[in-house]
C-alpha cells in the first residue's frame, strides 16, 4: 500500500478582500465579480517559505532523519536555475542523501509531484517522500488574475506504511492548451479570453479526466465521498459538479473565495481540507487543471485518525488578518516598490560562507554542549556557559522547532523594512538558548515581554543586483 502518510498546509496570515482590489483598481477595469477574499503572503514570504511552512506542519511528530526525499511543485521558484527543493531540504534539516526535485511550469505540477513520489515509493526506490507545493503568482494590477490568484502551500508525506490515504489510481491528460501562461522573465501571468479557458479548458478537461479515471478503474462517481474540482469560475465549479451528477456533500468546498487560486497548491490544499474531515473507507477523487488535467483516486484508511493534530486548513483559515491597504500589498509584491533609501540597499552575499554555515542559517541549528547540556545559537565550538567552556564537545541542536518566548523587543522605525516598523526581539527558547531575531506576522502594539513565540522560515532579503534570495528564520506569535 502506497499513499499519503501525513499532510500539512500553510495559508499565510494575511487576507485581502476582493473589494479592496476593486476599490483600488476598479476605476480602470472591472476585472471580475469574484466575491470573498484571497490569502496573500507577507512581504517576507514566497513559494519556498510557504512550502517549508506546510512541510513543517506535515512533519508533525515525524523523525526528520527518516525523510527520503523532497519534491517541490511551483511555477514561481525564486531561481530560474538553482534548486528550490534543495533550499527546502536544508531548511527542514533533512539528511543530505535524499532525492530532491522541482516540478515546475504548470499548475498541474502539484498533483504530478504527488504521483511521482507515489511511483518512487511503489518502485521501492524511496520511502517517506515529502511532496510540497506552493505558488505566489501575480496578476497585473487591475487584471482578473490579480483578483483570482491566492498564495498558499500544501505538503504531504508519501510512503508505504501507516498510510492514511492510499493512491488507488490516476488518470492524466496532457494537452498543449494555452489559456494561462507566463513567458521566461515575465512577472505577471497572461490569459486568453475567459470563455476560451472556461468552455474549452476547465469544463472539458476536468470531466474528461474524471470520466477517464472512472472508466479505467470501473468506478462510479457515486463511489466517492469527496471530489475535488479546481476551477477559477464559481458557476462552472457548480456546473461541473452538477453535470457529473455529484451530490452536494460529495463536492469538496471550493477555496477560491477564501484563499484564491493557489496554482500548484490549488488542488492539494483542497485535498488537505478533505483529509481533515475524512473517515476510514472514504474514497477521494482529486483533479487538477493546467495544460491538461490529472485525476487521482485515494482511499482513506483507519490510520487517518492519527494524522489529525495538524494546523491544516480549518485552523489557518480561522487565523487571519485583513490587509486593507492595496498599496501595501503592491509594495510587498514589488509591483509598486517603495523608496528603500540607503538602508534598503543589500550588500553582497558570500555564498561560500552561506554554504559553510548552511545548517546554522537555513536549518537554524546551533550547538548543544555534550558536557554541560547548554543549547546555544549560533553554533559555537567553545561552550558559552561560563562555568563550562568545553572546546569541541558540541552536537548540532535544532532551534527551528522549539517553542520560545519574547525576552525583550522593540519596533524600529529607523531600520529599513518593506513593512515598517521593523520589529525584533531577544528570543528565549524553551529548553535553553537565546538569540535576537526579527519578528513577523504581528503588530508592534501587540508585542509584550514573555509572549509565546515560534520560529518561521522567511525570505530575509532579496539582492536584485546579484540575483540572490536570502532566507532565514524569524519569530512570530503562534497562530492556531
Amino acid at each position: 500500500m502506497v499513499g499519503i502518510t501525513s499532510y500539512g498546509a500553510y495559508i499565510p496570515l494575511q487576507r485581502i478582500n476582493r473589494k479592496v482590489l476593486a476599490n483600488a483598481t476598479g476605476w480602470s477595469t472591472s476585472a471580475t465579480s469574484l466575491p470573498g477574499e484571497k490569502a496573500v503572503a507577507n512581504y517576507d514570504e514566497d513559494s519556498v517559505t510557504m512550502a517549508v511552512g506546510a512541510s513543517i506542519d506535515c512533519l508533525t511528530g515525524f523523525d526528520r532523519n527518516k525523510v527520503g526525499g523532497v519534491y517541490f511543485a511551483t511555477t514561481t521558484p525564486p531561481y530560474r536555475e538553482k534548486q528550490s527543493a534543495g533550499i527546502i531540504t536544508t531548511a527542514l534539516d533533512l539528511r543530505p542523501d535524499v532525492r530532491a526535485a522541482d516540478f515546475a511550469d504548470s499548475v498541474k505540477a502539484g498533483t504530478h509531484a504527488l504521483l511521482a513520489a507515489c511511483d518512487a515509493v511503489k518502485a521501492g526506490s524511496e520511502k517517506n517522500m515529502i511532496v510540497c507545493a506552493a505558488d505566489c503568482r501575480l496578476g497585473r494590477p487591475g487584471s482578473a488574475q490579480e483578483v483570482i490568484f491566492g498564495e498558499a502551500g500544501a505538503a504531504f508525506m508519501v510512503s508505504d506504511t501507516d498510510v492514511i490515504a492510499t493512491l488507488e489510481g490516476s488518470y492524466t491528460l496532457t494537452y498543449d492548451f494555452q489559456d494561462q501562461w507566463r513567458a521566461d522573465g515575465e512577472k505577471f501571468n497572461r490569459m486568453w479570453e475567459d470563455r476560451w479557458a472556461r468552455d474549452e479548458g476547465y469544463t472539458k478537461f476536468i470531466p474528461e479526466a474524471i470520466n477517464g479515471l472512472l472508466k479505467k478503474y470501473k468506478l462510479n462517481i457515486k463511489d466517492f465521498a469527496k471530489v475535488i474540482i479546481p476551477c477559477i469560475y464559481l458557476r462552472e465549479h457548480q456546473g461541473m459538479a452538477k453535470a457529473l451528477q455529484l451530490d452536494e456533500k460529495q463536492v469538496q468546498k471550493e477555496m477560491l473565495t477564501t484563499v484564491g487560486d493557489t496554482g500548484t497548491a490549488n488542488s492539494l490544499i483542497m485535498l488537505v481540507a478533505a483529509l481533515e474531515d475524512a473517515k476510514p473507507g472514504d474514497k477521494i477523487l482529486v483533479t487538477s487543471y493546467g495544460n491538461g488535467a490529472d485525476a487521482l483516486f485515494f482511499q482513506v484508511t483507519e490510520h487517518i485518525e492519527k494524522a489529525k493534530n495538524r494546523r491544516g486548513i480549518k485552523k489557518q483559515l480561522a487565523s487571519r488578518k485583513e490587509l486593507t491597504n492595496y498599496d501595501r500589498y503592491s509594495s510587498f509584491r514589488d509591483i509598486a516598490p517603495m523608496e528603500a533609501g540607503f538602508r534598503g540597499e543589500v550588500g553582497p552575499t558570500k555564498v561560500s560562507m552561506a554554504w559553510r554555515e548552511r545548517k546554522v542559517i537555513l536549518a537554524l541549528c546551533g550547538a548543544r554542549c555534550k558536557r554541560c547540556g547548554t543549547p546555544q545559537y549560533p553554533y559555537q565550538r567553545v561552550c558559552v556557559n561560563p562555568k563550562c567552556g568545553a572546546i569541541d564537545e558540541m552536537e548540532y541542536y535544532r532551534f527551528s522547532d522549539k517553542k520560545a518566548k519574547l525576552f525583550s523587543y522593540t519596533s524600529d522605525s529607523l531600520a529599513y523594512s518593506v513593512s515598517p516598523p521593523e520589529m525584533y526581539g531577544v528570543v528565549e527558547f524553551d529548553g535553553g538558548g537565546r538569540f535576537a531575531f526579527n519578528l513577523t506576522d504581528c503588530e508592534a502594539e501587540s508585542l509584550a515581554v514573555d509572549m509565546p513565540l515560534e520560529m518561521t522560515f522567511r525570505r530575509k532579503y532579496v539582492d536584485n543586483v546579484r540575483g540572490i534570495h536570502g532566507y532565514f528564520w524569524k519569530a512570530m506569535p503562534p497562530r492556531a
Binding site: S408, S411, L414
Partner: protein
C-alpha cells in the same frame, strides 16, 4: 592583581575639535585641527612624539588595507610607530590605552592617541547600515536581526521597565530627564554639536525612533576628532604644572554570554559592570557613588546612560530613577554626569568619542571648563561602550590630579 596603571602615566596635552555636521571638514582636516590644539596645549613639538595610536574611523568601507597611515601621513609623523585600533564605539579609548601602555611599559616616554570619525560622508541619518560594515563576520549579516543601534538599546528600556514595574509613561519621563540634563549642559559648551535646551515635554512627545526611544533619546551623529598626549608621570611637570594622571584603564569585552546564554537580564550592561569593578580596584576607589566626582559616560541613548549609572555603582540596582529625577547627575547635582553635554549633545563621532570624554575630564580637573566648571573635582571617570547591550566592549578610564 597586577600593580596596574595607576599614577604611572600623565596627560600633558589634549585637543578636541568642535563636533557636528562638519560638511566642509575632511577626516584629515579634523585630525589636523585636533593635533594643532594638542601641540599648543602640551607645548611640545612633533618630533617629541615617539609613538601614536589612531582610533577610528570605524565607518570606512572595506577593512582590507585599512591602517594607521591616514594619521601618519596627514600629520607627517616622522617614521614613528603608528597603529590603528578598533573596538567599535570604544576605539578612541582603545587608542588612548595603547598610548598609555606604551609609556607605562617604558617602550617610549611620550605617546599620542588620536580618535577621528567622519560620519557625515556616508549619507545616512543615524549610523550607516551595520550590514555593510559587519563587525563580527558576514554570517551575522544574515542571522542577525535587521536592527539598528537605537533598536538594540531600546530593548534595554523595554526589559528595564518590565522588570522594575515602570509604566512606559513614567519610563519615558525618566529617560527624558536624562536627555534634558545633557541638552542643558551642551548648550553651555561652544564645541558641542547640539546647543539647545529642550523641555521634558518636547522630549516625551518627539517622534519614536525605536520604541520606547524617541528622537531626543538618541545622541548626535557627528564628525569630529580628539587627541591626547601622554608621558611618564615622573616627567609630566616638565611640561606643565597641572598634568592629569591616569588612575585606571580597564576594558572588558563580552565573552558572548549575554547574547547566547540565558543568564543575562537585559537591564544592565555586563561589560560595564565588570570593567567598572576592575577600574575601581585599580584606582583604589572604594565607593564610586561618593568618590567619583564626575563622569562622561557613553550615553548613545538615554537608557544607556540610565543603566550605566547602576553598572558604575553610582545608583543602586533598579533605583536610578530616583537619582535621575532628584537631579543627582545634573551640573549642580552631587555627581554630575555629562558636564560637556555627552554623546547626546556634544555629539558622537565614533572613533573620537572616547578621547573627547577624557578631554572634558582633563579640562574640569584643570579648572578650565568655563561655564560648566565643577567645584574641586578629584576623580573623573569616562565610560566608552562599543557595540550593543548584549555584544559589547566597554572601556573605563579614571583620571585625577
Amino acid at each position: 592583581m597586577a600593580a596596574g596603571i595607576r599614577d604611572k602615566v600623565a596627560i600633558i596635552g589634549m585637543g578636541c575639535t568642535k563636533f557636528g555636521e562638519l560638511w566642509n571638514k575632511s577626516p584629515e582636516d579634523l585630525m589636523v585641527d585636533a593635533f594643532k590644539e594638542l601641540l599648543e596645549d602640551a607645548k611640545i613639538e612633533k618630533k617629541d612624539i615617539q609613538a601614536a595610536w589612531q582610533g577610528g574611523p570605524e565607518f570606512t568601507p572595506g577593512s582590507v588595507g585599512d591602517s594607521a597611515l591616514p594619521l601618519a601621513q596627514t600629520l607627517k609623523l616622522p617614521f614613528i610607530p603608528v597603529t590603528k585600533v578598533e573596538n567599535m564605539c570604544a576605539s578612541g579609548s582603545e587608542a588612548f590605552r595603547g598610548a598609555c601602555y606604551a609609556v607605562a611599559s617604558g617602550a617610549c616616554d611620550i605617546a599620542m592617541a588620536l580618535g577621528v570619525e567622519k560620519l557625515k560622508d556616508n549619507g545616512y541619518g543615524g549610523l550607516p547600515e551595520f550590514s555593510h560594515y559587519a563587525t563580527i563576520g558576514t554570517k551575522h549579516r544574515i542571522i542577525g536581526a535587521n536592527q539598528t543601534a537605537p533598536g538594540m538599546f531600546a530593548m534595554l528600556a523595554t526589559r528595564y521597565f518590565n522588570r522594575y514595574g515602570i509604566s512606559p509613561q513614567d519610563g519615558k519621563k525618566m529617560l527624558a530627564a536624562v536627555s534634558a540634563k545633557s541638552h542643558h549642559n551642551g548648550a553651555l559648551n561652544p564645541k558641542a554639536h547640539l546647543r539647545r535646551e529642550v523641555t521634558i515635554e518636547q522630549i516625551v512627545n518627539a517622534p519614536i525612533v525605536a520604541w520606547p526611544l524617541g528622537l531626543f533619546d538618541c545622541c548626535g551623529v557627528s564628525d569630529g576628532a580628539a587627541s591626547a598626549i601622554v608621558c611618564r608621570a615622573d616627567m609630566a611637570k616638565q611640561f606643565r604644572s597641572d598634568p592629569v594622571y591616569v588612575k585606571s584603564l580597564q576594558i572588558a569585552a563580552t565573552s558572548g554570554e549575554e547574547e547566547m546564554y540565558t543568564d543575562y537580564d537585559y537591564t544592565h550592561v555586563e561589560t560595564t559592570t565588570r570593567a567598572a569593578a576592575r577600574a575601581y580596584a585599580e584606582a583604589g576607589i572604594k565607593n564610586a557613588r561618593d568618590e567619583i566626582s564626575m563622569a562622561e559616560v557613553h550615553d548613545c541613548f538615554s537608557i544607556t546612560e540610565a543603566v550605566t549609572m547602576e553598572d558604575l555603582q553610582f545608583s543602586p540596582r533598579g533605583k536610578v530613577m530616583d537619582d535621575i529625577m532628584s537631579g543627582r547627575f545634573n551640573l549642580d547635582g552631587a555627581q554630575p554626569v555629562q558636564p560637556d553635554g555627552g554623546l547626546k549633545c556634544f555629539g558622537h563621532p565614533i572613533g573620537a568619542s572616547g578621547i573627547r570624554m577624557i578631554y572634558e575630564m582633563y579640562k574640569q580637573l584643570q579648572g578650565k571648563a568655563d561655564k560648566r566648571q565643577l567645584k574641586n573635582p578629584k576623580y573623573g571617570l569616562t565610560h566608552n561602550l562599543g557595540g550593543i547591550p548584549y555584544r559589547s566592549v566597554v572601556s573605563i578610564v579614571i583620571v585625577g590630579n
